[in-house]
């Protein structure tokens, strides 16, 4: 545990706090008693109060670095394999990459019947990237935060997909694509779909519009929050199990077993969540392409 004189609740809160860089409003009293000068100032947040005071003008450094880092790793690895791949018999990691690509290709072909060069690479990126982000959940919860804590970094949340900003960022990206293709493919039909469904009568336009807009907005929210919820809950259980280690020597063995069991189960969860995110993206985009 980082810091020996923490309570369990402090420990958990510490683990759930992002490393945040943001703008504190002017006049805010900082943790050390100093006051923020006029015009606000961009600083590293210290504690939950400062983070909430920063509001929207803040960025989670840890989430961004891990997320972008994993994304770059994905791009680098797959790009290198794409350079090596040839029509001769593949070997080693190329096999793995081809297996993933073929799996994505089949899934997309099953679900998406239109012609769009974006969908399959999008699905591949989402699947592998989300999987890698989820995979960070299997790294022991204290390992990296503690090591970085020794190096002077106060907070560290290494699983980007436990940050709603990350999952919602992707979901909103998908949502924008949905709107774009709905308008591009259906044109005015998209407006008609929103207003004339499910009751096909001019009188019901407001009702229809309300229902359809809610249904439409529910898609990105369900997409992003499902992944966030699952990963957050999983991470929370890992943290609780880790906290159990501090409960006393007789708890070490049960905690170790719980840790192992949950980690094994979580291998399934992280893969499944990545797959669900990918499939739902393809399904939503497929719906955006279908003109009724």
């Amino acid at each position: 545990m980082a810091g020996d004189n923490q309570t369990v609740s402090e420990y958990i809160v510490h683990h759930l706090t992002n490393l945040t860089y943001g703008r504190l409003p002017e006049g805010f009293e900082r943790y050390d008693g100093s006051s923020v000068p006029d015009g606000g100032s961009w600083v590293m947040a210290h504690g939950a109060e400062e983070i909430s005071a920063m509001g929207f003008y803040a960025i989670h450094i840890d989430s961004m670095l891990w997320s972008v880092g994993l994304g770059i790793f994905f791009c680098w690895f797959f790009y290198r394999m794409a350079c090596l791949v040839s029509e001769d018999s593949p070997s080693g990691p190329i096999n793995f990459v081809e297996m993933v690509v073929e799996f994505i290709d089949n899934t997309v072909k099953d679900t998406f019947h239109g012609k769009n060069r974006l969908i399959a690479p999008l699905a591949l990126t989402i699947f592998v990237w989300v999987f890698l982000m989820n995979l960070m959940d299997l790294v022991p919860v204290d390992l990296i935060p503690y090591a970085l804590g020794l190096a002077g970094v106060e907070y560290q949340k290494i699983v980007p997909s436990t940050d709603p900003n990350i999952t919602m960022g992707m979901a909103v990206g998908v949502f924008i694509l949905m709107l774009f293709y709905s308008i591009k493919v259906k044109g005015f039909g998209f407006v008609k779909e929103l207003t004339m469904n499910p009751f096909n009568h001019p009188l019901f336009i407001p009702v229809n519009l309300f229902m359809e807009v809610v249904g439409l907005l529910a898609k990105p929210f369900s997409l992003g929050l499902r992944l966030f919820g699952n990963m957050y809950a999983g991470e929370m259980i890992f943290i609780l199990i880790a906290a159990l280690f501090s409960a006393g020597i007789m708890w070490v063995l049960p905690a170790a077993l719980l840790q192992l069991g949950w980690a094994i189960f979580h291998i399934l969860v992280i893969t499944l969540q990545a797959f669900i995110f990918m499939v739902l993206t393809v399904v939503y985009l497929s719906m955006a392409h279908e003109d009724h």
């Binding site: 509001g55 994304g71 794409a82 690509v101 974006l118 709603p164 900003n165």
Partner: protein
Amino acid sequence: MNINLTLFGQMIAFVCFVVFCMRFVWPPIIAAMADREKKIADGLAAADRANDDLAAAKEAVAQELQQAKVDAAGIVDAANKRASQILDEAKEAALSEADRLKEGAMTEIEQERQRAKEQLRGELSALTMQGARKVLGAEINQNSHERLIEELVENW
């Protein structure tokens, strides 16, 4: 649970990675896999074609063999016919040769017989003369009775 600028940061990163994947990762892998699929399909088709060719060749060989058998049978027949013909001819020739030889032998025998007859006749006449001389004594003149003896021998 703070929604902040991270949202947009993630969206920008998302777009960048998707674009990168779409430009540099997906197309070469899919193209290579399609190429390989085509190569394998071509290989299988070539194998099928080779099989067909093999079957056709086998059939041709069988036909050729059949033809050769028929030809061989024809040749054997002709040879047999020719052989019996030659045999017949040889037999014919042998028979005629034998006839000719027999004829010659007969002639020779006849001649021999004539000669022997002549000789015997001469000897007989001499013997007769001798005998008669011994029987009749010296009176019998050879010259005067020669014609008689000659006549005798002639009629013997």
